[in-house]
Amino acid sequence: MELKEKLVSSFLAFENTVNVDAPIHDIRTQAIKIFEEKGFPTKKEEAWKYTSLNAVLKHDYSIFPKEENALEFKDVKKYFLYDLDTYKIVFIDGKYSSHLSETTHDKIDVCLMSSALTHDKYKAVIDNYFNKVARQDGLTSLNTAFSKEGAYIYIPKNKLADKPIQIIHFSTGKESAQMLQPRNLIVVEENSHVQIIERHQSLTDNPVFTNSVTEIYVDKRAHVDYYKIQNDNEQASLIDNTYIEQQAQSVASVHTFAFGGNITRNNLNFFQKGEGIDSILNGVTILEGKQHVDHNTLVHHTEPNCESHQDYKGIFDEKATGVFNGKIIVDKIAQKTNAFQSNNNILLSDKATINSKPQLEIFADDVKCSHGCTIGQLDENALFYMRSRGIGEKEARALLMYAFANNVLESVKIPQLKNRINKLIANKLGVDIGFDL
């Protein structure tokens, strides 16, 4: 049976595990209909021209987590930012692990979607925000239909989350192939501030297919920094659908570090709903082998005097492929918009590919919008210069690649995270870097 049919026919079984009388279930029922109608995207769609899900969809995935699998912290410690005090929401094969997590209800809520969807205490927030900014495309609807578990973060107004929050999804490989559909909701009210780090990690070579949806609401003058670490193995595919709605004078940043995975697709959408908003989209991609990453971004400016800044750097080796498709829409009313987009790439091999496509739809006449895209090789003169100062070729290449990605790395505001990312890069490049940039 094809995965689509299997999913649609599994919906009945899924309904036995949730409260079908809850209002949210109407949303799920609607969503499965949309998925049934639209299905998975194909390369015929313009937005999926360079990314095929065929190979990903052919596995016979287990759709529901069957049993609770446990992991010992010492065995997975390296996937955590363990040198930093954080809240943690950890899932093992789609099920919440209280053992590895550290949640809170003290002034802020850092807990589970399953609680938020079933307890009256959260009803008002769920009614107001759940599935409101998410789009109704096939993949998002599929996630909505089976939405049950994920991270729920609620920061009421004038609160500073006292420490960053880590959301980590582990796959143990107990199933021969597993599909995961986490659903996250993050609501940050006026003047509040939160930092979130998200990671998906498969622990074996059994195929994993994650279709994740995250909705983030950033109220007036609130500030959200979201960091995604995508450093999974070559059997793990991820479709990350993230929707961010921002109110006046809010700041939201998303950093995407795409260092590994089979097929990774980031659908990152920003909707600006007030004046004086700043949206920041930064990414560093470093891939080799046959890995594929597709960054599909949208920033929709609907009010005057807002800004958006996109800076994506990509380094592709061997047969790795990358896509950057950045769409900026500036509505007619959104005068004095400043929208900047830059996508710079280095290809280290003749067989590596990048497709870079800016899409600007500008209907206002008094705006500053710019986009730039470069594709090149490492500068041989710079390599010679560094080598002539005694720096080995491998180290010189690594140093140049660090330098290339530096302005994005510099914008990471959590020092321990920046340090970790530097180490991940050094690991990937096979160098022991004794410098800090």
Binding site: F384, R387, S388, G390, G392, L399, D436
Partner: protein, 250 residues
């Protein structure tokens, strides 16, 4: 220190050096002069190990060892340094971090421990004062947005940090005003000792007023066609290169 014998070299299939001989001993300063296109920069880049330059014949010996098969970094580890005519801008790497990496990589290759941070800072301070370089300058990205003069001064600062055995200054005087020229020359002279050697490659005699050579060579059409003492440089300054060309072609 350096002995070049009958060196022939191609760049992109075109023969640039056509049987060049040069011998430089420790404690000496040699100037290599010549008209544009004579092969001066090619010579500098070949000694430093630039890979696009293909040596087709001849030998380059450093302290008796053939260095032709060595990469640029290995030559640097043996004490070769080239001050670039066009230093490369490297955004994202500060001058200080670049020097730390360069010195520690070189020490590692020489089997030495990394230089303690305190010693490194002290050395950076001393050498930047020698070249009259502002401290703020050191935390800027390497060569990015530097003026021509700043780049050249930065090259000599790097030379001071690396303490090479053999330094090749490739057109270090170009782009320098007279004050910067004095600072750079003063730095080079302070670094000079009986244990090291310097090759000054220049088009003009001007720099040689400040860095006084023991020998002056004229490079023309891929060969050294005339050698002499510093008076030769003055003669070239006065008469240009045409008389040499005529002498050769006669």
């Amino acid at each position: 220190m350096l002995e070049i014998k009958d060196l022939h070299a191609n760049v992109e299939g075109k023969e640039i050096l056509k049987g060049l001989n040069l011998k430089v001993n420790a404690g000496e300063i040699h100037a290599v002069m010549g008209p544009n296109g004579a092969g001066k920069s090619t010579l500098a880049n070949i000694i430093a190990g630039k890979e696009e330059y293909e040596v087709t014949d001849g030998d380059i010996l450093l302290n008796g060892d053939d260095i032709e098969e060595l990469g640029p970094e290995e030559r640097a580890h043996k004490g070769v340094f080239m001050s670039f005519q066009y230093p490369v801008e490297i955004p994202g790497v500060t001058v200080t971090n670049f020097m730390k990496t360069a010195i520690n990589e070189t020490r590692k290759a020489q089997g030495l421990e990394e230089m303690p941070a305190k010693d490194m800072l002290k050395k950076i301070r001393e050498k930047s004062e020698l070249l009259e370089i502002d401290r703020k300058f050191l935390s800027r990205s390497l060569n990015e947005g530097f003026s021509g003069g700043e780049k050249k001064r930065n090259e000599i600062f790097q030379m001071a940090m690396m303490e090479p055995k053999l330094a090749i200054l490739d057109e270090t005087d170009s782009g320098l005003d007279i004050d910067a020229l004095r600072i750079v020359a003063n730095g080079v002279n302070k670094l000079k000792s009986q244990d090291n050697a310097i090759i000054v490659i220049t088009h003009y005699q001007r720099l040689l007023d400040y860095i006084v050579p023991d020998y002056v060579h004229v490079l023309y059409d891929g060969k050294i066609v005339k050698s002499g003492t510093k008076e030769l440089a003055l003669e070239l300054e006065e008469k240009g290169y045409d008389w040499i060309k005529e002498e050769i072609n006669a």
